[in-house]
Symmetry: none
Subunit: 138 residues, 2 copies
DNA sequence: CCTTAATTTGAAAACGATTTCCAAATTTAA
DNA sequence: TTAAATTTGGAAATCGTTTTCAAATTAAGG
């Protein structure tokens, strides 16, 4: 794999594009189309190589949809933060408690899995849960 | 997609095989190899078609690893399913342990939040974590 | 600057898993 | 038993991605 010792125009452009889309998941094809539109000269091969290199460095989040990989540039906002995100209203509860650290430890020891230092768990906040219960009786 | 109106030898054989491996995730290739060994006459195309049809009917669980789909026949849907999903290779670890129930309880009591009975936590599996450590030195 | 060596690029070909095509085979219903 | 409907499977196509390799670019040292 690339050692990325030279800083090329292509990489600068790609990085800029990813950074300006930090909240979106993009496929290699998405990026190619953007480059085409902007008359930036970058081959698909180079895009794939660059994305792979970012992946290896842990600088992107990855989503697998069917048979296509989507990449999102990671901006390290808060270092270790666990979030509860309400599926219904979008409310986010930030957590930083003992229980989550314990869970992380357990998963590492028993399941050999390194949980992201930042992750989201989905569900319903109190308000929305109550609303949903009410709705059932309608 | 197939309407599956005729009940063929191939489908009976495939179903039997999946059922007798209900706790394993199998790829189309795995199934092809099995059929080869057992001198059962089934083409790869038919295997894919059958798996797709099961998928549409919701009769299999699916795991995406790298670029290959793995299928597991669903016997009974277990109520609480927690997953650890590797960001890098897509591997899914199925969990069903005490610690997760405790976490759920804690979040409900202390944070008033109802975690989905089925959820995914992202991170890196052992293999990919090691790879990533190695890659950093390139 | 200029030269050279190391690295990177990108078009084309390869790749691997999956899907599509289509003629032949099988199944069902009558 | 026959005919129509459906299914099969090999070959070719597809799709996203990776590899290959000659040409272009970059960095580093005269």
């Amino acid at each position: 794999m690339e050692k990325r010792k030279y800083n090329t125009e292509q990489r600068k452009e790609l990085l800029l594009f990813l950074i300006s889309n930090k909240n979106k998941f993009l496929s290699a094809e998405d990026i190619e189309k953007y480059a085409e539109n902007e008359k930036i000269n970058i081959g698909l091969t180079t895009i794939y190589r660059f994305l792979n290199s970012l992946e290896k460095q842990g600088k992107v989040r990855i989503e697998l949809k069917e048979h296509t990989k989507y990449y999102q540039y990671i901006f390290e906002e808060c270092e270790h933060h666990y979030h509860l995100k309400c599926k219904r209203c979008g409310k986010i509860i930030h957590l930083d408690c003992e229980e989550f650290e314990e869970l992380k430890e357990h998963v590492l020891k028993e399941h050999g899995f390194v949980i992201d230092s930042k992750f989201e768990i989905y569900g319903l906040c109190e308000k929305c849960y109550k609303k949903m219960e009410e709705d059932k009786n309608e």
